[in-house]
């Protein structure tokens, strides 16, 4: 039981007194802010906390009247800080009055004289008058920022409210990753709080759980600010403070920030030149201080644009392309009617229009591009962190940070790359002893390469580890029933390696290995496929593993194969086309009700587009058709069509509401001659068709690779 001794009671009084004094000082500041029409959410929250503590203490120590007053006051302050009631003169008056009453109550308690009942009653009556909030109830919609779920989960109601308010006010969100010495943490935090205050509000402080060492701690500070990255980096960034903007989901801020881009390129160059000199991954790859040297100049010349606006512009370009087509036809007609000079003029106009339109398209595309360095920086930190966790020294060599790719793709790349790197460290790179045994340098190397190849960006993650153990992969695949022992015997090396992209078959190659940490490569593959990319794996036992990803440079325009099936035109993005072969119906076999054909010794499931979409034929099936082989990783499907029209760059537009939920279509596209074509979603179709087919094919050999 609690000692009811004087000491405890005395402590209570002195703390209560202190709280009331703090509250009083707080109110003065709050009043000042209120009168000068400034808002200071921090002050309201502090007042709330003070009263909240006072309430808890009072009830604990039997000071019931004080507890009761504090309780009612707390409700008002809670409504205030959560934005449910506005701060007005009436509320401010009540708060001041409450401080007086608290003081009277404390005096009476101390001297054991009767409580100032009248004053208390009067105050409670005024509090009641303020009444229940009429303001909006707390928003509950999704927070459209790429915030760590873990971070969102630990926000208190108040913190969440502040987050929403800041978002509503159009502030940008930042994550400040800081690392502090435990001994000096208080001072260090005060300092960063003080400097952060000038630029915005720190919403919460979240320990990341990565202690690094027993003497330091890493925290993520969620901050809202009007300032931009270069400014915050300049003002808050330091060796132990990394500022990172939290992007909006779907409508991310984009490159227009040439300063940032330039700075990344410079950093990338520094990295590349310095790479061979970097002793190990422990070294800070990009220090916050270096960042701002380049970016100081041109900050004011940049704008941030929601990427959806660019999509809109791109749609307009698509529509203009149709005008261009019509213009060409008109000029043809005019020439046909013998008006030569008018026809020539129109022809010239048409050509100019065409050229300018192409420039405009290229210009819009260029704005969407951001350097891959953005993701690479993050990965460098991950490598450092993981290598420390697993006690493997790793050198990360980055090339091609300046390679540019669609902003939306960059956003989606970070997870798959992270998993691949995690795999490379966990399962690829051996521990130092083992490396020494086989004559490798003790420090493992992971290379992250990016380069552009035509309309594609190639990304490679390469390690000099032990390579993938094919036997183990095969064993696992057989055990999981992904392949039968019979088909296993016939698989080529490359086909075996491709098995790691099947669910459940991992790159893990021995039981003592750290497993279960990363997501399977199947998830990585799916993510890449969603971006219209393909993924390949190469591995040499004892030498290393290389995983190569080919991505389209942009999601706004895709190269597609146009094809026709019973008078309908369909487009299939080239990224999912592996080949097109002549087809005649006689080669089709039937396995358990599913159509398949042979293709160079492998079995290819096929699907007739007209049947699939229930298209009516006005004419008979042509004698000679084509099978377009669509592939999604190791899975392939032959789509039977009547005619191949050719390749064309297309802008994919979303389908209208009524068609949005139809599986199998990625969207629609205008074909330039006022016709509309449906864009096939290869992934969805393959999934749909193969779901039934694969089991039927077990026994027959499925064509991987």
């Amino acid at each position: 039981m609690v000692e009811s001794g004087d000491k405890v009671r005395e402590d209570f009084f002195s703390e209560a007194q202190e709280i009331v004094e703090t509250l009083s000082r707080n109110l003065l500041k709050l009043d000042d802010a209120h009168r000068t029409k400034r808002s200071d959410p921090g002050l309201v929250n502090e007042a709330f906390r003070a009263v909240h503590t006072l309430k808890g203490l009072s009830s604990l120590f039997g000071a019931q009247t004080m507890g009761n007053v504090a309780h009612h006051l707390e409700d008002i302050l809670d409504d205030l800080r959560l934005g449910r009631v506005p701060l007005d003169d009436r509320v401010v008056d009540v708060l001041f009055r409450a401080v007086e009453v608290f003081n009277e109550l404390l005096a009476s308690e101390k001297s054991a004289s009767p409580p100032p009942s009248q004053a208390v009653e009067a105050l409670l009556a005024r509090i009641r008058q303020i009444g229940a909030p009429e303001g909006p109830v707390a928003a509950t919609g999704p927070i459209e920022y790429d915030l760590d779920v873990g971070m969102l989960a630990v926000l208190t109601e108040y913190e969440e409210h502040r987050l929403r308010t800041n978002i509503e006010q159009g502030n940008r969100l930042y994550r400040l990753r800081v690392r502090f010495d435990l001994v000096t943490i208080d001072k260090a935090l005060e300092e960063i709080k003080e400097s952060a205050k000038k630029f915005g509000e720190i919403i919460t402080y979240l320990p990341t759980g990565d202690a690094g060492s027993a003497d330091t701690i890493e925290l993520d500070l969620l901050m809202a600010s009007m300032a931009d990255v270069p400014t915050l980096n300049r003002e808050l960034g330091a060796e132990n403070v990394i500022v990172e903007e939290i992007p909006r989901i779907g409508g991310a801020a984009i490159k227009a920030e040439t300063a940032e881009a330039a700075e990344r390129i410079v950093n990338a160059e520094v990295l590349e030149q310095g790479m061979s000199l970097v002793p190990n991954a422990q070294r800070e790859l990009v220090s916050g201080r270096d960042k701002d040297t380049v970016s100081l100049r041109s900050v004011s010349q940049t704008v941030r644009v929601d990427i959806r606006r660019l999509d809109h512009l791109m749609n307009i370009v698509g529509e203009l392309a149709i005008v261009r087509g019509t213009l060409a036809k008109v000029s043809e007609r005019v020439r046909g009617e013998g008006q030569r000079s008018l026809a020539m003029e129109l022809q010239r106009l048409h050509r100019t229009f065409e050229r300018r339109l192409a420039e405009m398209q290229a210009g819009i595309l260029e704005v969407r591009m951001v350097p891959l360095g953005q993701v690479f920086e993050r990965l460098a930190r991950v490598v450092r962190q993981i290598s420390r966790e697993v006690h493997k020294e790793i050198r990360l060599v980055i090339t091609g940070s300046e390679t540019e790719i669609d902003k939306l793709i960059v956003e989606e790349l970070s997870d798959p790359l992270m998993h691949m790197i995690r795999n490379a460290i966990d399962h690829g790179i051996e521990v130092a002893d083992k490396r020494a045994q086989v004559g490798k340098p003790p420090i493992g190397t992971i290379a992250l390469n990016a380069f552009q190849k035509g309309n594609h960006v190639m990304l490679e993650v390469e390690d000099d580890g032990r390579g993938i153990d094919e036997t183990a992969v095969l064993d696992r695949a057989i055990r999981l029933g992904k392949v039968s022992p019979e088909e296993a015997r016939e698989l080529t090396r490359l086909e075996v390696l491709s098995l790691i992209f099947l669910p459940g078959v991992s790159t893990r190659d021995s039981v003592d290995d750290l497993g279960g940490r990363g997501v399977g490569m199947d998830v990585v593959k799916n993510n890449i496929s969603k971006l219209g990319g393909v993924i390949d794996v190469h591995s040499e036992t004892g030498i290393g593993t290389k995983i190569a990803i080919t991505l389209p440079i942009t999601l706004a325009i895709v190269s597609a194969l146009l094809m026709r099936a019973s008078d309908q035109t369909f487009a299939l993005p080239l990224s999912s086309v592996s080949e097109a072969i002549p087809f005649d119906g006689s080669v089709v076999r039937n396995i358990d009700g599913h159509s398949v054909m042979s293709l160079r010794g492998t079995t290819l499931p096929i699907c007739r587009l007209d049947e699939m979409f229930g298209l009516e034929r006005t004419t008979g099936i042509p004698r000679r058709q084509f099978a377009v082989v669509a592939s999604l990783g190791a899975r392939r499907l032959g789509l039977v069509v009547d005619q191949l029209v050719g390749e064309q760059d297309i802008v994919i537009k979303p389908l209208g509401r009524s068609l949005r939920d139809v599986r199998g279509f990625a969207g629609a596209t205008e074909l330039g001659d006022e016709r509309v074509g449906l864009v096939l979603d290869a992934a969805a179709i393959i999934e749909e068709v193969l779901a039934g087919t694969e089991s039927a094919l077990r026994g027959a050999r499925l064509g991987y690779g």
Partner: protein, 129 residues
């Protein structure tokens, strides 16, 4: 010896809880109560040893109790230590979040010393059984 980490930013409340917990010596034998005066302070104390129970207030500035729960549940060393949250009547949402993040029990202010003692004994017992 049992070690309890008590995280509470109000000195009186801390003293109250400490006194209540110290009373458990009769029942549980030797115990050490480590007091942290804020969420940050707790972060400082956590790496310095193992604990058999953590009692923490939710409503603290900067690093709040929920963040502490998450941190503890992610820590390889402290992952399974029982956590008792101290919350107020009004913060039902925060309390629920805390339990969702892996706290084991909560006490609503004001609570009697016996409530804290009972919960503490229960949680320490659960963890060791």
């Amino acid at each position: 010896m049992l070690r309890i980490l008590l995280v509470e930013d109000s000195p009186s409340m801390r003293r109250f809880a400490r006194t209540a917990l110290e009373d458990l010596k009769k029942q549980l034998g030797e115990l050490e109560i480590v007091e942290a005066t804020s969420g940050f302070d707790a972060l400082r104390w956590l790496p310095r040893g193992r604990y058999d129970l953590v009692v923490t207030d939710i409503n603290m500035p900067d690093v709040n109790g929920l963040e502490l729960v998450r941190f503890i549940r992610q820590s390889p060393v402290h992952r399974s230590v029982p956590i008792v949250l101290i919350s107020t009547q009004s913060s039902e949402r925060d309390r629920e979040r805390g339990l969702g993040l892996g706290a084991n029990a909560y006490l609503v202010k004001p609570f009697a010393a016996e409530d804290l003692q009972r919960t503490a004994v229960q949680q320490i017992g659960n963890a060791s059984s």
